[in-house]
């Protein structure tokens, strides 16, 4: 009984504090920032440092960083918090989830906030690399602010190159040279391969991204960046890309069969069991600190043109965050993405800084002078395109990844795989297409 009475008392007291709290003008507005750590544990500490500095500089706001796991888990936890009626004020969200979230009405347009700051959308987005706009600006409205980004990159073991009689200053620029180099680099003992010429990850999530890079390098597009109901799986550019990858496995025998996860690829590279690999720029810091041999990086080799997709995450404000909390979230977002902070985060984590002005700052210039590989990664942003994002992105991506994995395991031919992937993807996107592009006047 006493405990109940005490609870009631406590509740009343709590309610009273809530009711009175606006009266205390001094009390800071409390907001939460959900953030994922997709690569390693160091990032969590860096994020705490960053938010602490923000709180010191903005006494009217008290931001709390909440670690929410991987990109996917961050999406789950954000949706769970929204369902419980307590959306976080800001979330660092994988850039290719924004379209889905917008379609489901789960994130807000930021246009009015940009307007209040006296800027147009174009002027605001103008500070970020052009390649990043596609995943942040949807139907001409800004839904996200790019926070950290990446692209696929070719990593090369320079020692292996010299050993195989190749010049480590002339890295493969096209598929012909890539396949030729890979053949020279692959080592066999009888039937057993002790060193693979080239490796690329093909697990869920990563595989689709690498295949998109090969497709773009082959002149393709993968998806319609303007409309979330179209993918171009069954097309010549994609057939070429998939066949090339499959040939590296089955015909040239310079790439292991089956699925390799991202971690397995970087481990093999670091252990000297793979001479070249296609991997994210996000792994640069990891490779830089762990490689016991000289390595080089280069653009993803092309067949038709140099072009790759972006990866990474943007800051978003969930639906239901209003008034003072929304304003506070916006203050946090603009502060975190300013040139100085953007550059600091990039140097700490290895991600690319989305804010172009970050690269004009002296600290950043000195950093790139010291780490030229980071400079090459940034240059590739000039030829980068948006990351694939459609209605039900993950499922539509899985439709092609299942087929990619079957092809790399020798279970299917590229053409039949692409036909199946296209059919499945169209089926998944059908409800969206029927309610948008195919919703026509009936009489």
């Amino acid at each position: 009984m006493t405990s109940t009475r005490r609870t009631v008392l406590a509740a009343t007291a709590f309610a009273a504090t809530l009711a009175l709290s606006p009266a205390f003008a001094q009390a800071p507005i409390e907001i939460e920032l959900f953030f994922p750590v997709p690569v390693d544990g160091q990032l969590a500490r860096d994020m705490t440092t960053m938010v602490k500095e923000f709180n010191e500089k903005h006494p009217a706001i008290k931001a709390t960083p909440v670690y929410t796991g991987s990109y996917d888990e961050t999406l789950i936890k954000t949706r769970a918090a929204m369902k419980a009626g307590k959306p976080p004020a800001a979330v660092i969200m994988s850039a290719n989830f924004l379209l889905d979230l917008k379609i489901e009405g789960e994130i807000q347009k930021l246009d009015d906030l940009i307007k209040t700051d006296g800027k147009t959308n174009d002027a605001f987005m103008g500070q970020f690399f052009k390649a990043l706009h596609g995943n942040a600006v949807l139907d001409r409205s800004v839904y996200g602010v790019p926070f950290h980004n990446s692209t696929p990159l070719l990593y090369v073991n320079a020692d292996h190159f010299r050993e195989a009689g190749l010049d480590p200053d002339k890295l493969p620029t096209n598929w012909e040279e890539l396949a030729a180099a890979a053949k020279k680099l692959t080592k066999r003992e009888g039937d057993r391969v002790t060193r693979w010429g080239v490796m690329a990850p093909s697990n869920y999530d990563y595989g689709g991204w690498i295949l998109q890079a090969l497709t773009h390098s082959n002149g393709g597009q993968w998806f319609n960046p303007e409309f979330g109901g179209e993918v171009y799986y069954d097309t010549p550019s994609m057939l070429g890309a998939l066949t090339f990858w499959s040939d590296l496995v089955a015909k040239h025998k310079v790439h292991p069969a089956g699925v390799q996860a991202g971690g397995a690829v970087s481990s093999a590279f670091l252990a000297g069991q793979a001479s070249m690999m296609l991997l994210s720029t996000g792994s640069l810091t990891h490779i830089r600190t762990n490689a016991k041999f000289p390595y080089k990086v280069a653009f993803v080799p092309r067949n038709v043109r140099n072009e790759v997709p972006i990866g990474g995450a943007s800051l978003v404000i969930p639906t239901g965050v209003e008034d003072a909390r929304k304003k506070a979230a916006w203050t946090l977002i603009t502060w975190m993405t300013n040139p100085e902070k953007s550059g600091w985060w990039s140097r700490a984590t290895g991600y690319l800084a989305p804010n172009m002005a970050a690269y004009d700052l002296p600290e950043m210039k000195a950093f790139i002078e010291k780490n030229p590989d980071a400079g090459i990664a940034v240059k590739q942003l000039d030829v980068a395109k948006p990351w694939f994002a459609t209605y039900k992105t993950v499922t539509v991506r899985k439709a092609i990844e299942d087929e990619l994995q079957a092809v790399l395991s020798g279970k299917k031919q590229p053409k039949e795989a692409l036909v199946a992937a296209q059919k499945n993807a169209d089926e998944i996107m059908k409800p969206f297409v029927e309610q948008t592009a195919l919703k026509l006047p009936t009489n």
Partner: protein
């Protein structure tokens, strides 16, 4: 859950014709209240919510949930990935429960006699049980790593190259089954050790006097006495098969090409990746039905085998 059902039945039986509950019932209810409250809040209420969700879904993209009848179930059974997950789960169930049982029985019989060495071996075989499945999966991630992993490292010393353990659609499911057997055999061994204590020594004596060989003793003495234990371990094993997918999550995410997808992971994918709550709820109910069927039938077998022993 079965327990709660049983208590429910016995309550209605003891209730007198007048609707005023007896004192004892009141006392029983009061004693049960704490756990009933929690069961209702965290078990039965969610179950009701899942049943409700399985009949509702979005009709319009981004729209509200509306009643769709059995449409979620039709969609579920029409989905190739679901059927694949179902058949994977059957292979996985058969391929993990049977070998784990055989291994566990073997271990238990070899280590039944108490001695210091046997105690050490019992502890060794039981060790995998103490490691959480997620942690075990993370360890196996390294063991299975192609080229650099522990397995391939030792194979390379024999000048052999292992397959792509987790990346080959023909092998990945068996690799995961291997991990499951390693993890569970020690646990089941514990039950068999207890079961073997219950086999009377004179039964063996009589068998030996009758000239029964070791196989005959196993077939006609040990196994009949162990029937209830086997039944019980089977239930536990089958429940594990349906309710544990941590290793799939860590090692393969159901890939390559859905070859290691199991029912529970499929449900997770529908809920989280496809954002299709209706289909996920329908999948959950199918799983729940399977679980209930397994528990009910095995409990009945259990009761029967107990009964046999009494007569």
């Amino acid at each position: 859950m079965a327990e709660a059902v049983l208590t429910g039945i016995s309550e209605t039986r003891t209730r007198p014709a007048g609707w005023r509950p007896r004192r004892t019932t009141l006392v029983a209810l009061t004693l049960l209240a704490p756990s009933l409250v929690f069961l209702t809040l965290f078990t039965y209420w969610p179950v009701i919510q899942v049943v409700w969700q399985s009949l509702f879904n979005q009709q319009r993209v981004g729209g509200p949930q509306v009643y769709v009848g059995a449409a979620n179930f039709f969609k579920l059974f029409a989905d190739n990935a679901f059927r694949k997950a179902l058949s994977n789960n059957l292979i996985y169930a058969f391929g993990t429960v049977v070998p784990s049982l055989v291994l566990a029985l073997g271990f238990a019989m070899a280590l039944a006699r108490s001695s210091r060495i046997n105690a050490l071996f019992r502890a060794l075989f039981f060790l995998p049980v103490l490691i959480p499945l997620v942690a075990a999966a993370s360890i196996f991630l390294f063991i299975f790593l192609p080229g650099v992993g522990l397995l391939d490292y030792h194979l390379a010393k024999l000048a052999l190259s292992g397959p792509n353990w987790l990346g080959d659609p023909d092998i990945a499911l068996y690799a995961i089954m291997g991990l499951t057997i390693w993890k569970n055999a020690g646990y089941y061994m514990l039950f068999f050790l207890a079961g073997l204590q219950a086999v009377p020594a004179d039964a063996y004596e009589a068998a030996i006097l009758d000239g029964a060989g070791p196989w005959q003793r196993l077939r006609y003495v040990t196994l009949p006495y162990l029937k209830p234990t086997i039944g019980f371990v089977m239930v536990i094993g089958l429940l594990n098969v349906v309710t544990q997918v941590d290793h799939v999550f860590v090692l393969t995410k159901g890939g390559p090409s859905d070859s290691t997808n199991l029912l529970l992971f499929y449900v997770y994918q529908q809920a989280v990746e496809s954002y299709d709550a209706g289909k996920a709820a329908a999948g959950t109910l199918v799983m729940l039905a399977l679980l209930l069927a397994i528990s009910a039938s095995s409990l009945r077998t259990l009761e029967r085998s107990f009964g046999e022993r009494d007569t």
